[in-house]
Symmetry: C2
Subunit: 290 residues, 2 copies
C-alpha cells in the first residue's frame, strides 16, 4: 500500500484528506499539530490515520501534500529536505507559487516538487468546515518545475479527477501569481476595504446580494493573508493601483455630472462582462453561469 | 374589484405584476410600451390584463406602481399628475429616492406617493427574467412622505407580505440614498472597475468564487445606472472616495512590505466582518448567512 501524507488539516488540507480517501491503493495519513484538530479530524474521519509527527512519516510517503500557510510550507521544505522518500511527489496548496517554487529548490534531485493551487475555499476556515466535496467543479492550478516527471503529472491529474476538480490548469509560477493577484487577492483587498467604511454597522436592512457577495471573503485569516499579499507584493500592488485609477475615473465622471462619459464607461465595462459570460457559457468552462 | 396598475414590465415590474396576482380583490394590469414585451408578458401570464395605454387606466387605478427607470418615473409623474384617481396610492421601485420624492411634489394633495425600493434584482434584466419569487426574503425599503396615510402604509405592508419580502424597512429618502450609495451603487462601481482590467479576458481558469461574486453585477444596463449614479452623485462620490483611500492605504502597506501594518489592517476589517456576520446570525435578519 502506498502512502499520501497530508501535512496540516485546515480547511484545504482537511478537505483534501477527506476527498482523497479511497484513491487507488493509497493510505491517507493526516499530520496535525494540535490536540483539538486531531480530535475533530478523528471524529469526522478526515484521514485513514492521524499523526503528530510528520517527520516520522516522510521516509515512507509516496506523496506529500503541504497544506500549511506559505511560510509554514517554506519552513517545512527547508527543515525536512533530507527526509523525503526518493522518487516521491511533493505538492502544496498555497495561493502563491513563485516563492514556494523558489524554496523548493532546496530539495534534493531525487524528489519532485510541483506547486499547486486548488481554487477552492470558503469564507470560514479550519477542519470544522472541511468537506470532501469542496473541490467539485473548481480549478486545480499546477505549476510544474523543470524536473517534474510525466509520471508525477499524471498521478496529480488522477488525484485531481478523484477529488472532482472541474479542470487542471497548467501554467508557470510567475503567470499564476500575476493572475491570482487580479482574480483572488484583489477581491480580498476590495472586501476588507469595503468593510472598513464607518457605515458597515448601520447599513443593515439596505444590503442586497451584491453587498453580501462582495464582502463575503472579508472575514479572512489576517496572518495568512498578510503572507499571501507579502509574497506577491509587486503583482498585487499593480492591480490595486489599476483599480484605484479606474475608480477615480468613475468618481470624477460622477462628480462632474458627465453623463455621456459615465454611460460610455459603463457600457464598455458591461459589454466586457457580457462577453466573458458568453465565452463561459459557450461551454468550455467548468462553471457556465460565471 | 379594485385595480393595481403596474407601469413598465421589466425585471422588477414584471416580477411585481406576477407576485401581486391574487392579492386581495385587486386586478393586476400591466402597462407595456413594446409589442415584444407585451407578447412575452402575455405568454408568461405576467398580469391579469395588459395595456399599451396607462393614461386610460389611471382614473380607475387604486394603486399605481411605477417601474420605469428614474427619469421615466419622474417624467410619468409630471405628465400624468392630474390623471390619478383621488385617494389612490402611487409607489415606485427605483434605486434613488430623494429625486423621486422631490418630483412627486408635483402631485395633487388628493393622492399619496410613497417611495419604495425592493432590494431585489438579478444580473439579467427584462420580462424574460421576471419571476414571482424574486422578492422572497429581500428587504422592501419604504420612504413615506409627510402626507402618507396609515391606511396606505398598511396596504403597502400587506402587498410586501403577499410578495414574500423578508421585511419592510421604513426610512427617509436622504438616508436611503446615503445607505444605497454604499451597499449597492458602490458594489456596481467596483464590479465594472474590476472588469476594466486588461487581464479580464486572459484570467480564465484562475477565477474562483470571489471573482465571480464581485463582478456578477457588472453586466448592468448602462443607461439606467448612469441615471442612478447621477441622481445620487454626492453620496456615491463620497463612498467611492472613501474606498479609494482605503485601497491606497492597503497598497502602500503592501508596497512597503509593512507586514505589521498589513496584519493590523486585515485583522480590523476581518473582525468587523465577523461581527456583522454574528449580528446577522443572532436571528433578527432575514438572511442569517450574510
Amino acid at each position: 500500500m502506498r502512502k499520501i501524507l497530508v501535512v496540516g488539516l485546515g480547511l484545504i488540507g482537511g478537505s483534501l484528506a477527506m476527498a482523497l480517501q479511497g484513491f487507488e491503493d493509497f493510505e491517507v495519513v493526516g499530520a496535525v499539530r494540535s490536540q483539538a484538530t486531531h480530535d475533530k479530524a478523528r471524529s469526522k474521519g478526515a484521514a485513514d490515520r492521524l499523526t503528530f509527527h510528520p517527520a516520522d512519516e516522510l521516509p515512507g510517503a509516496d506523496v506529500v501534500i503541504l497544506c500549511q500557510d506559505p511560510a509554514g510550507i517554506i519552513d517545512f521544505l527547508h527543515e525536512h529536505r533530507d527526509r523525503f522518500k526518493p522518487g516521491c511527489l511533493i505538492w502544496d496548496v498555497c495561493g502563491v507559487k513563485t516563492a514556494v517554487m523558489e524554496a523548493a529548490k532546496c530539495l534534493p534531485e531525487t524528489v519532485d516538487f510541483i506547486g499547486c493551487h486548488p481554487m477552492a475555499g470558503k469564507e470560514v476556515s479550519g477542519i470544522d468546515n472541511a468537506e470532501a466535496g469542496l473541490f467539485r467543479n473548481t480549478h486545480f492550478i499546477v505549476t510544474p518545475g523543470p524536473r517534474a516527471t510525466k509520471e508525477h503529472l499524471d498521478l496529480l491529474r488522477r488525484m485531481a479527477d478523484w477529488c472532482k476538480f472541474g479542470d487542471v490548469i497548467e501554467t508557470t509560477p510567475e503567470r499564476h501569481d500575476e493572475m491570482i493577484a487580479y482574480t483572488s487577492q484583489l477581491m480580498h483587498v476590495i472586501a476588507v476595504s469595503v468593510c472598513d467604511n464607518d457605515e458597515l454597522f448601520s447599513c443593515k436592512g439596505f444590503e442586497g446580494g451584491s453587498f453580501r457577495d462582495c464582502t463575503r471573503v472579508a472575514a479572512l485569516d489576517p496572518a495568512m493573508w498578510t503572507q499571501l499579499f507579502t509574497f506577491n507584493a509587486p503583482a498585487l500592488a499593480k492591480v490595486v493601483g489599476t483599480l484605484e485609477n479606474r475608480m477615480r475615473q468613475y468618481r470624477e465622471a460622477i462628480e462632474a455630472g458627465d453623463q455621456d462619459a459615465l454611460r460610455a464607461m459603463l457600457a464598455q465595462a458591461s459589454d466586457r462582462k457580457k462577453q466573458i459570460n458568453l465565452e463561459r457559457a459557450r461551454g468550455d468552462d467548468v462553471r457556465p453561469k460565471f
